[in-house]
């Protein structure tokens, strides 16, 4: 039942930093791993030990299950936190950890398997009396046309074998079905090694609302309230908040009750999220995310609960330290994901080298960041750099602080999603809390006003002048030579 003395974090970026901080608060010694490209990253700096992985390719680094288990064993770690993504929801890896006597900080392999099979998860929700979107079990191509007519158009094709927005295709009419099916199967095979797909009713303008769950190994299940995550693009969340604005109290109550019911039916353990679509007064279960989520801080800020610490407690066998009635919600919290993506170029990943970072701080602002000057944003990993989370006694206060924080945030070397976030915060629909999952489609790099063009011209001209008149330091080559000379001496 004791907490592990050492814990290995099988992840990188902001979530690795987040887990390290939870370890410090629990007086657990955190051990980091890192791919060569991440050698200067904050999680390497902040851990007690940092172990180099053989390559940058995920299969050699953060997806390298057997090596990660071996490194945990070698460094005396009694637990392993997978973060999100990578191996977080991989039942085989969870089983590997268990076999090695390593506490996997997440649900056990069998729970991961049940939640990862979306059809099974839907069936569990259905069995719990929780509404699900009209849909099908995994379909074969030959019956797909008939099944699609039964579900009705528009509909979504979704991968049965995994989540994260991969393999999802929208089909507006029967004529698009065959080609979309082909694409979806190909993507599902590539992403999850499983070509099975199923069909699901598609709502025109629903809101995405999810419920945070904690479940211990003694059968205790509590919810930590809901999060609104409707600001999405290609099924990737961009902004999340808690509580969900404009959600009637009765509907919220129904959602959180349904979430606890689904978790119980699934025999859920550790931290998880039950996702729903809300359409008017109706709501529908969509899936379970069997991991800690990117957006967990908004829940932490309104409940005061450290979710990562709770994960570690549960994984070490401790019962939940709170009953449902102990929880209180205070204020509002908002999260903007800062990714190295170019919102002016279709949100394409912006690869390159970050050469300067200034992060926001101050009242009501929390930054969970994995960004560092010198960081190479590579094609190997997710482009998420950091998250800005703001709180306030009111939603308006949290939004005002977010605007202030984004203004303070300066990242040089790559494009980021900051311009999109500034746009979103100023939309009337967002300000009123009346936004749905189509909200982000409204982003259109607006043509700059004449005043903005004038300011850009001033700035560009001064920048040009500055570049032409400011000398650069001697190139790296020269310094390299000096270091070489020094090393040579030390070899003598």
């Amino acid at each position: 039942m004791a907490l592990p003395r050492r814990l290995l974090i099988a992840n990188r970026g902001e979530i690795a930093v987040r887990v390290i901080r939870a370890c410090r608060d629990l007086d657990i010694s955190p051990i980091a791993v890192y791919a060569p490209v991440d050698a200067g990253a904050p999680h390497v700096r902040l851990a007690d030990e940092a172990l180099l992985l053989p390559g940058d390719v995920p299969a050699e680094s953060y997806l390298n299950g057997p090596l990660l288990v071996e490194l945990a064993r070698r460094t005396g770690a009694a637990a392993l936190h997978p973060g999100y993504g990578f191996l977080a929801e991989n039942p085989a890896f969870a089983a590997l950890c268990e076999e090695a006597g390593l506490a996997f900080v997440g649900p056990p392999a069998d729970v991961l398997r049940r939640c990862g099979d979306k059809a099974a998860a839907r069936a569990a929700a259905d069995a719990s009396g929780v509404p699900i979107l009209r849909g099908t079990p995994p379909v074969d191509d030959d019956v797909a046309g008939r099944e699609a007519r039964a579900v009705g158009f528009p509909l979504l094709i979704k991968a049965a074998g995994g989540g994260g927005g991969k393999g999802i295709h929208l089909v507006r009419g029967p004529s698009d079905l065959a080609s979309a099916l082909r694409l979806a199967r190909g993507e599902a095979q590539a992403a999850f090694g499983d070509p099975r797909v199923y069909l699901e009713r598609w709502l025109e303008q629903p809101r995405h609302v999810e419920v945070q769950i904690l479940a211990d190994h003694q059968g205790g299940v509590i919810h930590l309230g809901e999060r609104a995550c409707s600001v999405q693009r290609r099924h990737q969340k961009l902004i999340e908040e808690a509580p969900a604005p404009g959600l009637p109290a009765a509907l919220r109550e129904a959602l959180v009750t349904a979430a606890v019911r689904v978790a119980r039916t699934l025999g859920y353990r550790n931290a998880g999220t039950i996702e729903f679509l809300v359409d008017g007064e109706e709501f529908f279960f969509i899936e379970v995310n069997a991991r800690i989520q990117v957006e967990h801080p908004v829940t932490e800020l309104v409940t005061g609960v450290d979710l990562i610490a709770a994960q570690v407690l549960i994984a070490s066998g401790a019962p939940l330290p709170w009953r449902q009635a102990d929880l209180r919600w205070t204020g509002c919290a908002l999260e903007c994901r800062i990714s190295a993506e170019d919102p002016h170029a279709g949100f394409l990943p912006s690869l390159g080298r970050i050469d300067g970072v200034t992060e926001p701080a101050g009242p009501g602002v929390r930054v969970d960041s994995g960004a560092w000057p010198g960081q190479v944003v590579s094609r190997h990993y997710d482009p998420l750099l950091s998250k800005v989370i703001t709180t306030g006694p009111s939603r308006e206060a949290a939004i005002d602080r977010m605007r202030r924080a984004l203004r303070e945030y300066a990242i040089s070397g790559v494009s980021t999603t900051i311009p999109f976030h500034l746009w979103a915060l100023d939309q009337p629909a967002f300000a009123r809390g009346l936004y749905d999952v189509r909200f982000a489609d409204g982003w259109e790099p607006e043509p700059p006003t004449p005043e903005v063009e004038r300011l850009a011209t001033l700035a560009a001209a001064a920048w040009f002048h500055r570049r032409l008149t400011t000398p650069t330091l001697p190139a790296d080559g020269a310094v390299g030579r000096w270091i070489g000379a020094g090393r040579e001496e030390s070899l003598r």
Partner: protein, 184 residues
């Protein structure tokens, strides 16, 4: 320095004077004092103008810069405007030597003149490449190339002497804005 800035197909001559981060810009007759303070790394600045400060990200793009300002991105074409001849250096008296210096650090890609050649103020003495942009360096005075100090392929520092010109007493000089305020 006079800069030709092109935004949305509209070309403007912008005159930038200043040192370090403090500038006065003259655009369309209007003088705008402002600051461009470095904020983070090579691309992030804070533009202090008209009583407000605006965070901007400026990165080299094509033959100019891409400026991210609030939610907008503005592509600005940039090149050094051709200087305007004037009589400023007239009446300097006896024959004088005049140095032609590199306006920027960069790579000398061509030297279109030869030692001893006679040049007019606009004759290019060298072409320097920096930031993937090429720039002609004019003689800036009429005269004879007395000492040619660079050759193609050579890296030069900003301010390095490229050539020395021996000017006749009444050589025509180049216009340059007078030194103002914080320097020009």
């Amino acid at each position: 320095m006079r800069v030709e800035a092109t935004v949305s197909g509209h070309r403007r001559i912008v005159e930038v004077r200043g040192t370090a981060d403090e500038y006065i810009i003259r655009v369309g007759g209007e003088a705008v004092p402002f600051r461009l303070r470095p904020d983070a790394g090579s691309e992030c600045f804070r533009l202090e103008v008209g009583g407000q400060t605006i965070p901007v990200r400026i990165c080299a793009a094509g033959g100019g810069a891409s400026v991210i300002i609030g939610t907008a991105r503005v592509a600005v074409g940039l090149r050094r405007a051709l200087p305007i001849p004037s009589r400023r250096n007239a009446g300097l008296g006896a024959s004088a030597r005049r140095e032609v210096r590199a306006p920027i650090p960069g790579l000398v890609v061509a030297v279109p003149v030869a030692q001893g050649a006679t040049v007019a103020p606009h004759t290019p003495v060298a072409i320097i490449e920096a930031m993937k942009m090429q720039m002609e360096v004019p003689a800036a005075a009429a005269g004879r190339i007395e000492d040619l100090r660079v050759r193609p392929g050579q890296e030069v520092a900003g301010g390095a002497v490229l050539a020395v010109i021996a000017c006749p007493p009444d050589a025509t000089g180049m216009d340059a804005p007078a030194v103002a305020g914080q320097g020009a």
